[in-house]
């Protein structure tokens, strides 16, 4: 297989999309699941190719395989190429994306069945878009230049838009979709600007070349910093970093598998991936990496705090996602700060430095998608996402419970599950980077454990509180096709962390530091892992006291800290600020309305005024035309006299 064969990873889902929209839709019945099968087959192909890619990359020198570019557009000296890059980062990402996607697609067969049979949905539209998304996401990952990345970046945004608004007849879904698109586009503006800046100053879009230029000092100073900040603004939008985080919780309006795939595991982490992809540029700007770390660290605790009080299970998970993405950004930023302090930054060093953040991305993808799919399973049984209507599902849905618990433990960072390993490395890096951020991160560990087990206790423990309606009186376990992916993902959520043991993952990414080797060695090297583990356990314990045994009244605490509680439950009023104050009042109602006024009553009325003025002067002039012939004669005489006098005066 020639190296151009890597395109297939991306092309298989594209083919699936085209097949579904061109052939399946017109040729099959509305409730036919053929579309699902096609998608699953295509993505299975992608998974196999991804794993093969991983193997190839593992075996390649420098863990990098060069694939020749294809020239796309040429205008004079201006050339746009399309090409792919296969390195460690890509390999990890394609595996994550294709595997999670495959699980989600399988799960969706079961999940969507309900809607197909009850609400008149179709598999075709759903799977067409899912295929398109997977294709775009894979394209984004393998692209070797910023322009192509931007193209797929926008495409995943589109798919996100379409899938959030999948139930477009619900106004909330339609609004959420629009909000997601516009908020991310706001960030993308910075991305686009950065591309323009970089292209203008370097003449290339190629990430590898740009990285080299940054490393060799060809690209420095303000341009570099501004480009990095621009790119980061794109990443902030996609990865829902403060202050562009507002769209992600609302995005939960989409079908749950969509949330699992797009809004937890893959697309939202694209921001992190993007920063990692051209990390050398960031690493050369202390301002940029500090910004990344700060935004990341702040977002982590900021989002976690809102997760503490939400009653909608998916929203809790959504805030958790934002928080974890913040962690990843923190990891990248902190690593960058460390690197920057060390002085000369090579491309290799920069590439290696992203290992910690990317590893968390890797583990997070599995356990967070698992959690979402679990939430979807719960939703199937209860008809709702409101945890206040759940409880005691442990008995009715044992498989869901067990897998969800695994996910939660992993997320909480409990040894020896995957989340523990990735999170711990971040904490250590943060300590190296900035003490304040480290403290925030530690607090976040506690919060994370607390809100996850709040979910566990409210959902699976205690007595069942009845679900959404009478129909859901007797909850039951979901079908096999849904449970199977849960189990598979649970296994991954437990085990993938072990890749990092002994620095294997870091080495794969290009780092060559010695690492603690075994399961227990980590506790020996420093006190912080044990402290963070204790913090997490404390969070679980508090959650148990408040929601498990109910020895502490949640209401009372809520009442005592009323201000704080209101701030949290209202999401710090950010939606209010954005939608009502900035968009509706300031822009639409203010400036834009002003423009509209100017247009209607200014510019256009000048035009109409000129017309009316002309007309009016016509009416005035014709008054002279009195029908009195002697007046006409007077004008003849007067005219001649005036002309003569003027000429006399002139000459």
């Amino acid at each position: 297989m020639s190296s151009q064969g890597f395109w297939l990873i991306f092309l298989l889902p594209v083919i699936s999309f085209v097949l579904i929209s061109v052939l399946v839709k017109p040729l099959t019945r509305r409730d036919s699941p053929v579309a699902g099968y096609i998608t699953i087959m295509a993505i299975t192909g992608s998974v196999i190719l991804s794993i093969w890619t991983l193997a190839e990359v593992l075996g390649a020198p420098n863990h990098e395989i060069h694939v020749p570019d294809i020239i796309w557009v040429t205008i004079g000296d201006f050339t746009i190429k399309t090409g792919i890059i296969m390195d460690a980062l890509t390999a990890v990402m394609v595996v994550v994306v294709s595997v999670v996607s495959l699980m989600v697609q399988i799960y969706s067969l079961g999940y969507m069945e309900h809607f197909v049979h009850h609400d008149g949905d179709t598999y075709t539209r759903y799977y067409a878009w899912m295929s398109l998304f997977t294709a775009s996401m894979l394209g984004l990952i393998i692209a070797d230049n910023l322009l192509l990345m931007f193209v797929f970046w926008e495409m995943v945004g589109l798919c996100s838009y379409l899938l959030i608004g999948y139930w477009f007849h619900r106004p909330s879904a339609a609004n959420a979709a629009k909000k997601a698109f516009i908020v991310t586009r706001f960030g993308d503006f910075g991305f686009l600007a950065a591309i323009l800046v970089l292209y203008t100053n370097t003449g290339t879009f190629d990430t590898a070349q740009l990285s080299d230029m940054a490393a060799t000092g060809l690209l420095t100073g303000g341009i570099l910093t501004w480009a990095a900040i621009g790119i980061f603004s794109g990443a902030m939008g996609k990865s829902a970093q403060f202050p562009l985080h507002v769209w992600l919780p609302d995005a939960m309006e989409g079908p749950t598998p969509v949330s699992a795939l797009i809004h937890s595991a893959t697309m939202v982490s694209a921001g992190v991936f993007l920063v990692a992809r051209i990390f050398p540029i960031f690493a050369h700007s202390i301002e940029a990496v500090t910004l990344v770390a700060t935004i990341g660290g702040f977002t982590a605790i900021f989002a976690a705090s809102m997760g503490l009080v939400m009653n909608d299970i998916k929203r809790v998970l959504a805030y958790s996602t934002i928080s974890q993405l913040g962690y990843m950004m923190l990891a990248l930023g902190a690593a960058g700060i460390v690197l920057n302090h060390e002085g000369h930054v090579t491309v290799e060093a920069a590439k290696a430095a992203v290992a910690i953040g990317i590893f968390h991305l890797f583990t997070h993808a599995f356990f967070k998608s698992l959690l979402f799919l679990g939430a979807g399973s719960v939703n199937h049984a209860t008809g709702t996402f409101d945890m206040r209507l759940m409880g005691g599902l442990r008995k009715a849905m044992p498989w869901t419970y067990i897998t969800f618990l695994m996910g939660a433990l992993s997320l909480a960072g409990i040894w020896p599950l995957a989340g523990f390993w990735s999170k711990d490395e971040i904490l250590i890096t943060a300590l190296d980077g900035n003490t304040l951020l480290f403290i925030l991160a530690m607090i976040t560990v506690f919060m994370t454990a607390f809100y996850m087990f709040r979910v566990i206790f409210m959902t699976f423990h205690g007595e069942y509180r009845g679900g959404e309606s009478e129909e859901y009186r007797h909850p039951h376990e979901s079908s096999k096709v849904m449970v199977l992916p849960l189990v598979f993902l649970a296994v991954l959520a437990v085990g993938v962390g072990w890749w990092s043991l002994g620095g294997n993952f870091a080495e794969f990414m290009g780092e060559h530091h010695p690492h603690a080797a075994g399961f227990f060695d980590i506790f020996a090297s420093s006190p912080w892992p044990i402290i963070s583990l204790l913090l997490a356990l404390a969070g679980i314990g508090l959650a148990y006291l408040m929601y498990g045994s109910k020895r502490i009244s949640a209401e009372k605490i809520g009442a005592r800290f009323k201000m704080l509680y209101n701030a949290l439950i209202n999401k710090y009023w950010f939606d209010e600020l954005y939608e009502n104050i900035i968009v509706k009042k300031a822009l639409l109602g203010g400036i834009f309305a002003g423009f509209q006024e100017v247009d209607a009553n200014g510019v256009d009325s000048v035009v109409n005024g000129v017309a009316e003025g002309t007309f009016g002067s016509g009416n005035i002039i014709r008054r002279l035309q009195t029908g009195q012939l002697q007046l006409y004669g007077l004008f003849i005489g007067l005219g001649a006299a005036v002309i003569a006098i003027v000429l006399f005066i002139v000459s």
């Binding site: 002697q630 007067l638 006299a641 006098i645």
Partner: protein, 162 residues
Amino acid sequence: MALDFAFWLLAIVSVAAALAVVLLRDVFRAALALVLCFIMVAGLYVTLSADFLAAVQILVYVGAISILLILGIMLTRDVQRGSLSNKLRFPALLVALLFIGTTIFAVFNTPWGVSAGAPVEPTTATLAGRLFGENGYILTVEIAAVLLLAAIIGAIVLVREK
């Protein structure tokens, strides 16, 4: 000297007659004043050694046009409200004064190429030559004839009932 005196007399009387035409309320009397004015102009022609023209003036203006106009006045007599002035009196006066002003300015600032040559006298034969001669205005005379034809047709068409 006699010529000067004649000029002043004729000029004053003709201006007075013209003013009478303009100022008299009775149109009939105005018409009579106009006849007087025409006669004075004929006199002026004589002072300018235009004897034939003076005769034509008497014949055409005094003899024909005046009679025609008086006839018209007679025919429209029953609506005689006099010949008042309209609202445009003052603007009209202004225009008239402007006209006099500019003309006088022009007249007195122009170096007239006054010829020393003596006037042709009597003018009849020379005029005949100019009008009907080989190098004269014979064609213009013909055009004038056609013009009179058109006027006659027109007058007939206009005055006769449908």
